[in-house]
Symmetry: D2
């Protein structure tokens, strides 16, 4: 693991998620660029001191020195965004599989370079768009794929948070600091941090490709260099339209990402804060509440679920499903067998690259006086 030392929010989540199914063990890390903190973090997590580094380059070198059967199977990159590219690129180039947090990198140029490195070395590359790991999101995806709601015509995705409603970065809030800092966060603030999740959620469920984009981004809180609020209109290839709202200044909201997809034959509605339910609104029949792990769900949705119906699963299990897909793929690669359907289900480098492009194009559109910016 690179990044994710003590106190880092997302590192702990990755570790919990990776560990959940007992298939992945953390054995080495460059958990913090501060030596002492790296050491402390490694110790707290039970890493051998010899595999605890402050510089990610040292981690890479050390691993490459080890015999293949001792070497890490893959690296997880959970640093602030500005380091994603260097770390992921180096490990990929060195032939080590990569799991990288989102948004993937700062721009499409980097994404291309990364793609080339990955193609050359043939490594697995996953991007942790974790919301796509929810069982009921996968159910939605399979239903759309199977035509249950007909041709998709309209998508509304909203992501409301309120934690940046005040200028908490001024109070040394670590999460807020780097996320509002262009040098570390990249081109966008809220749009990159959560808007990209929303974009991925839509793509993961519908497969729709954006054709044109019209964005209005705003830094609502005074003195903020990056957007903390954004509204985006979308036109998809094939004619469907969409609206994507992502804000971090919706005072009082926690992590309210919700999706509505409407097609010719029905609509689907899902809300992350109530994730065990998928609403299906057919054209000519009553609304149905599909619940996680019900026998009538698609096998892929059932496979993404660990507990019986009515025993709520949450964020962690969804996140773990990404890692489970990675573990399945790694094992299949190791054993030289093909993945069975539904296995190896995780967002890929392509998803990551699309996300980067989405941010770029939205920022471009936000600066443009033209209504529509081509995607």
């Amino acid at each position: 693991m690179v990044g994710g030392g003590l106190g880092a929010f997302v590192g702990a989540i990755h570790r919990h998620a990776a560990a959940l199914d007992g298939q992945i063990e953390l054995v080495a890390g460059a958990l913090s660029s501060t030596s002492e903190r790296a050491r402390e973090s490694g110790a707290a997590l039970g890493l051998e001191p010899a595999r605890t580094h402050a510089r990610w380059q040292d981690l890479l070198d050390d691993e490459l020195r080890r015999p293949a059967d001792e070497r890490i199977d893959f690296v997880t990159v959970v640093t602030p965004n500005d380091l994603h590219f260097d770390v992921a690129h180096a490990f990929a180039q060195a032939g080590i599989h990569v799991v990288c947090d989102k948004p993937l990198v700062h721009d499409s140029g980097q994404a291309s370079q990364l793609r080339e490195a990955v193609l050359r070395s043939g490594v697995l590359f996953a991007v942790t768009y974790n919301y796509s790991g929810y069982p009921m999101v996968r159910q939605a995806r399979e239903m759309v794929k199977a035509g249950a709601i007909g041709t998709v015509r309209k998508v509304v995705v909203e992501y409301h948070q309120g934690w940046l409603a005040t200028k908490i970065e001024a109070d040394r809030n670590k999460q807020a600091s780097w996320r509002t800092d262009p040098a570390r966060s990249g081109l966008a603030g809220a749009l990159g941090d959560i808007g990209s999740h929303a974009e991925n959620l839509v793509h993961s469920v519908t497969g729709l490709e954006i054709e044109q984009i019209c964005a209005d981004l705003d830094a609502v809180v005074a003195g903020r260099a990056l957007d903390d609020d954004g509204s985006v209109l979308l036109r998809y290839q094939g004619g469907a339209r969409g609206a994507l709202l992502a804000t971090q200044v919706a005072t009082g909201y926690e992590n309210d990402i919700r999706l509505r997809v409407s097609g010719t034959l029905g609509s689907l509605e899902w809300r992350q804060e109530d994730p065990n339910i998928l609403h299906h609104l057919p054209l000519d029949a009553p609304r149905q509440m599909l619940t996680r792990h019900s026998p009538w769900l698609h096998p892929h949705a059932i496979a993404a679920s660990r507990l019986p119906p009515g025993h709520p699963e949450g964020f962690l299990e969804a996140f773990a499903n990404i890692y489970l897909g990675v573990a399945q793929d790694l094992r299949a690669r190791r054993d030289g067998v093909a993945l069975t359907p539904g296995q190896g289900d995780y967002p890929t480098l392509e998803d990551g690259a699309r996300g980067v492009r989405f941010i770029e194009r939205a920022v471009l559109s936000a600066r443009s006086r033209e209504k529509w910016t081509a995607f």
Copy 2:
């Protein structure tokens, strides 16, 4: 009443709403332009044959012929949109108070003419944006006014319906037919029919004035001349931003209008399909569910409510509150007394005119390649 003969959906609602508090009685009508239907409708509603007309001009003439104490106090215009102007203008000019359905008229030119006529004759003029009549909407308005959520920064209003997801106007659905017909409906379809409600809901709660507008309108169902789906980005005077989504092709949705308003100190959330609750999300305290008729509500919200908490009120009572405000104003005018605070609370000609402008500007923006169209 002009329009609203047997089988007309909205006429019956107006009658129920007006009758609810026992202060308004229907005594005359031009309920249908077909003589026989006008007669039947009048008979069914217990009108005297002498006060049942097919032509609204005859109704007006007949009323003007009667002595003042026999004459109707006001006229309600519930025809398809294309007749609003002629009828409302003629009655206003004749000095008869007017309650008119929304959207008010076809264009701002008509709105101006109407304004002049109303100013000249001094009549009362109400526009039935009924959602502003909900007690918890009024509570939201009073909370915003009192600063409970600080300065408003973001507004999201969504209006999802699914009844036009298929081409039901081809099946002689009366409601669908005129609403999808430019000649009768006006410049816009969904945007005029429900988008204007959404616009009014925002204005009624926040008082925000639109500065710029960016609209994407679509006729999703093949062969439709007017939009049935629209997404609109908004910039308000003072810097707040908004998104307004109005669709009639969200398959399976019924009448799902919902509002989120976020300010520096908190957010408010309301949903018409669960109208007795207003969610208040303060910056630094738990979410509160304010319920209708609770003793801690604003007096104007309590006054808009007829039943104790927990006995659900609905659409009809909210609609009736508009008529109640009209009745209070009429009585105050008759008695030459001032309205007390909270009395005479109904959307006015200005609200109607703003709604017309909203439709015009949104349609203009939808046709423009510029991102922002001035309001």
Copy 3:
């Protein structure tokens, strides 16, 4: 109308409900036993002074003196419980149709006398168990009847209120005063006031007949003579079992009556504070949310509804459905025609008598050391 003068909560509801469909007009009343208040109330409601009385006996005498075509069609009794019997009995005996609030009378002896009087005179007799008027309750009833959930095995009905959580009757709260006074309320407090609604709701949906009852009643608030909290176990004929919980000291709850009925093939769930939805949980398929006025509902449920789906209806419309059934029956009787299916749907004297028996038996059981008291 007898009772229901100015300030009386339930009288106003009855008037709104009766007026809603424009089929019933209030023309005479003994609205209060205090002369002045009776006069004021009558005036406020637009009654002729000659038809405004303080003594209900005077109302009855006056009406009987009038020619049949001027006479009231029926009387509504909305006094505190202790007057129900005398008034209802006298009007029934005199051949005037009766609508009476619940609980019907104080004991089964009175109920029998009333039944005899009604049988002799042949008058219509309705008891306003208004929750049975909700469209989705009727839908539930029709689904049970049609076997949609198979054989009913278990019923849970809960009625939680909190308004009597403190001793508000000490503060001259009029509603609380008579409801906590054995002389006016009868044998029971909460069990009579709201438990009887719960009993009726179950019977109205399932048709189940109680065989045995086991009750625990409590006066939670010190110094109260009647129960304000009760829990009742039920065994129904045929083997189904039930639990009925009725409390008025559930601090903070408003009017939370909810019903769950489970059968061999599915369950139904309904909650009054969200009345436009009926949840249907089939044995082998996803949960369905049936919504009011959907085309796939039973015709009787659709007929009980005035507004399109998504335009919320509430308490008032449900109450009005009782009066609508009465009006339909009165008209059918007047015209000498049979009621068509679904028409004339209102709770009858038998429902009222069963409710009285339920209260009696529950109170008896509460005093007994035996677990089961025969019904």
Copy 4:
């Protein structure tokens, strides 16, 4: 771990829960009484063959033979109920700490023997009433303790499941088979399996002690030897009253355990299928929705939570909190230090014994003609 071989539902949950925080590692097991299955299960879970046993006695012997620093820290007993006593008793007697599933044992005699053994050996003993591990349940407990709702007067706890609505034990459903078999399940069916959870939930939140009990138990599905549906009235010491409903034949329900606690100053409401929210209904203020990990929660509730607000946690994390408490206690014991407040929070042998007594007394009451059976 004893029990919990491949295919056993609850064993996997215990393992996931124990592993979640990376503080507990499974190293030995008697996972199945069938040799082959025990071996397969051990292998699948990565146990050394030498520490994989078919007989739990062999596991115990083997562990005792090992040096203390290699020996297991504690055993988890997840067999069907009939083995709990023998296994737990033997390990406790041998001085090995015990975590045991619920219900603890078959009768109070066994519970007493177990208590003696535990007292003698001084081992830690936890019972996995996992619902008490939910952060918002702990918040409720702390609020009650702090007097936030005043004196508790009424408790309603409901546990609705539907999975035994048909005779699935006839289809070799493993879970259903042993749970409906008196030899393996004990005195009670639904009441033992889920009713005991409900009892513990109430006690854990309110601390109330049962004084008298009145139970109605039923085997609804023909041919079942144990209850699958039960309703229990409760009188608590100090005067509070309660109703506990536990059913496994509520067709279509998943795992719907919900709690309402009403006191003189407010009520609390929690529902396991929506576990991140606790509703607080104060006497004189709007309803509040307290959400997990909000800064204004009690420190013990915050400490029981791993993710930020809005990132849903579920069943697994709640279960893991029990194991976390055990791990904290074990570590404190090992280090000879006192537990800090909020640490070591898990249900104890006393909770287990009370649960057994609850089952015994409820079954006794169900067979009695007396209304109340002393507890």
